[in-house]
Every structure is written in structure tokens, then in C-alpha cells.
Symmetry: C2
Subunit: 217 residues, 2 copies
């Protein structure tokens, strides 16, 4: 499949590399067509024909599916550059969190009565936004089995079909076996607000890799 | 031990009953000394001498340890009625969440750059506020083993000694074996904000009893 990965940070590189290894064609998008991190990423991939790079718009036009791996604070601007037409009718897998990293204690730039997931969906009504993977670190995103237990990841989105597709991608590409569909895109609020607890758990436990598992009876 | 339980709802009744069964003397506090729910609760306990009731102030004065089980929206007023002097030098175990239940989607009345836990601690600087158990339903609070797996509960508070005591109470009274100390009272933000995800999980899974387990590697 042709897949766009918007963002050149750790999440974008980790997801991009995993997808290239699986045989997909991945275009990493960034503000500048020759972003040094994207250039370096493509160079280090074993299969360079399948690891290409370009602008946000190039990548969005290229991908049948689009991963948003930009920082939350930069997401809306990145998607504006990607262009509504290039994302029209496509699934946008939104892994971002609207975090403000300034200050010792992290806060969110939007929460409680709105979320970044909803802002994206409102801005691009013809794109199928599915929020997921934003509750785990990038090395857990693409390899949940490393944790030794079947932990949980969530889906938020308005389209049942798009969520079914993303559920299959999560399973087939990354190995996720416990995926909870939380409901429509307003449930992005919960998973985005959880990142504050995620941060606290990380600081408290010093765990490099962790996730939560929903246990019910 | 003499224990105060502020609030006559399900959480207060469940915690109160568990503590009475364990042999503690519990006073349930409410706005009115003869709150019908408190009267009924005390009447139904097998050991009525150990299940008594009174005003918030009566209960706070009675307890060596105080559980806040009031609704978040009512907490600050309830504690004002309980009285700073009655809580001075004592541990206040805060199980509440600042939820606004109006509207189909729950929101928080305070979050992101403040929390109810911090508001309580700021208002009562001579009381040792420890936020915990607010991430689970009341039937999980007092019987985590029912879930069949060792799930996680959290501690937030400024006093290491108070948290150590509460950790022991959680273990000895209720059977909690996985307790993560998140840090000072500002970490209340994360656990309170998590309740939005908690709500979404509950609606999505229809699970009567559930909790999250932190899995790390």
C-alpha cells in the first residue's frame, strides 16, 4: 500500500520504518521537501525505493492512508499545508497529542470540551479521521508484543468503516490484539487527556516501554 | 481505627461497609446529621455500634483518617462544613472527581492546569491530602481481586509519610497490590483527567467492573 507519514520525529520515523519493512511504499512528509531528518531516514532504510520523502502535500497526495505523526502543536498547520484535496476521502490516522511541553508540568492546548481529534475532523469533514496510538510511545506503537502482555489501544472516529480498516491495520501491521473502539471522534478527548496520566506514570516508574491493559470482569 | 467517610453515595457506603466489616469504627458524614441514606446504611450494618453517622463536622472530628467520597462538585463545600480544625494534621483520602454529569458527554469542572486534589490541598494546608481510588468504580475500590488480575491504582500527594500510610491502608484494607506513587498533588490532574477515558471505556465495553493495569518492560 502507499502510505503517507506526516512528521519526521521519532513517531513518524518508527512507524515509517515499520511500514517499509512490511513492504509498503512510504512517503514521509514535512514542511520542506528536503527536511534533513526525512532525508536521513530514507537513506538508512534498506529498501530506499520504498522510503521516499517530500512536502506534506506531496505525501498526502501519495498516500492511500495518511498517518499524522506531527507534534500536536504543529498538527493543524501541517494538515493545512497537506491540503484538504489531498486528504479527501482518505483515512487519516491521528497519533498526535495537543501537548504543551513548555514548563515542568505538561498541559494540553485543548481538552475537556474539545480535542485535537475533533478539531481535525471539523476542519476536514471529507477525511475519515481515526484517533489511535496516541496513548503509547512510538516503540510500543509498532511492537506491542514487546511488553509481554496483551495491552490495550483505542480507536475514536465517526466512521465505522474507517475504524474497521484501522483496526485491521493495527492488527496486521503492528500486532495489536486488544483494540477498544471508544466511539465517535469526541472520545478523542479521553485518550488525549490520558496523556497527562501517561506522563506521570512514565516519570514515576522510569519505564522505557509501558502501556495500560484494560481488565474487566 | 476511627474512620470518617464523607458522603453517603455508593462510594461512601461501599467503603464505609468494608471498613466496618474489617472491625473499624466508621462515621458517615453528610450535610444533615440524619441524612436518610446514612441512617439506612447504619441500620443495615451487622455491627451498628461501628456504623454511625453525623454531620460532615461530626465525622471529620471523629475520624483519625478521613475519606472524601462526596461528588466532586460538592466536595469543597462539604469540606468547608467539615471544618479545617477537624481535619488538621489528619490524612484526607480524596476519592472524588470534579465531574460535570450534565450533558451527554462528561466534562471536568477543573482540569489541565489545576485539579480538585490541588484545590483541596491549597484550601487545607494543614491536612495531608492523598488522592487515590478515583480511577476505579466503588466495587473495584474495595475488592480489586475480583478482576482476577493485579490491576493498578495510583497515589498523588505532597507527604511521603501520608502516602506510605495510605499505601498500607490500600493493601491491608482493600487488597491493592499494585500501587503507583505518581508524585506530588499536582499529579491529581492526570488521574482526574483519566476519568473521561474511564467513562469512554465503560460505555464502550459495558463492563460493570474494570480497571487498568500498567504493564511495563
Amino acid at each position: 500500500m502507499k502510505i503517507a507519514v506526516l512528521g519526521t520525529g521519532l513517531a513518524g520515523q518508527t512507524i515509517g520504518s515499520k511500514l517499509v519493512h512490511l513492504g509498503h511504499e512510504v512517503m514521509m512528509g514535512s514542511r520542506d521537501a528536503d527536511n534533513p531528518k526525512a532525508v536521513m531516514w530514507a537513506k538508512e532504510e534498506a529498501n530506499p525505493q520504498h522510503a521516499i520523502f517530500g512536502t506534506f502535500a506531496n505525501a498526502a497526495a501519495f498516500g492511500d492512508v495518511i498517518f499524522n505523526c506531527t507534534l500536536g502543536a504543529a498538527t493543524l498547520n501541517a494538515l493545512r499545508l497537506a491540503g484538504a484535496d489531498n486528504m479527501k476521502g482518505k483515512i487519516l490516522i491521528d497519533t498526535s497529542n495537543p501537548l504543551d511541553y513548555n514548563g515542568e508540568v505538561w498541559t494540553l492546548t485543548v481538552c475537556n470540551d474539545d480535542s485535537l481529534g475533533e478539531q481535525i475532523q471539523r476542519t476536514y469533514p471529507d477525511t475519515f479521521v481515526v484517533k489511535t496510538l496516541n496513548t503509547v510511545n512510538c516503540n510500543v506503537m509498532v511492537d506491542p508484543d514487546k511488553l509481554g502482555e496483551k495491552t490495550t489501544v483505542f480507536l475514536s472516529g465517526n466512521s465505522a468503516d474507517a475504524k474497521a480498516s484501522v483496526n485491521k491495520y493495527l492488527h496486521d501491521w503492528f500486532g495489536w490484539r486488544s483494540v477498544v473502539d471508544l466511539g465517535d471522534i469526541t472520545t478523542s478527548r479521553g485518550v488525549e487527556m490520558y496523556t497527562i496520566l501517561w506522563r506521570n506514570i512514565r516519570l514515576a516508574t522510569s519505564a522505557q516501554k509501558f502501556n495500560i491493559k484494560v481488565v474487566s470482569s
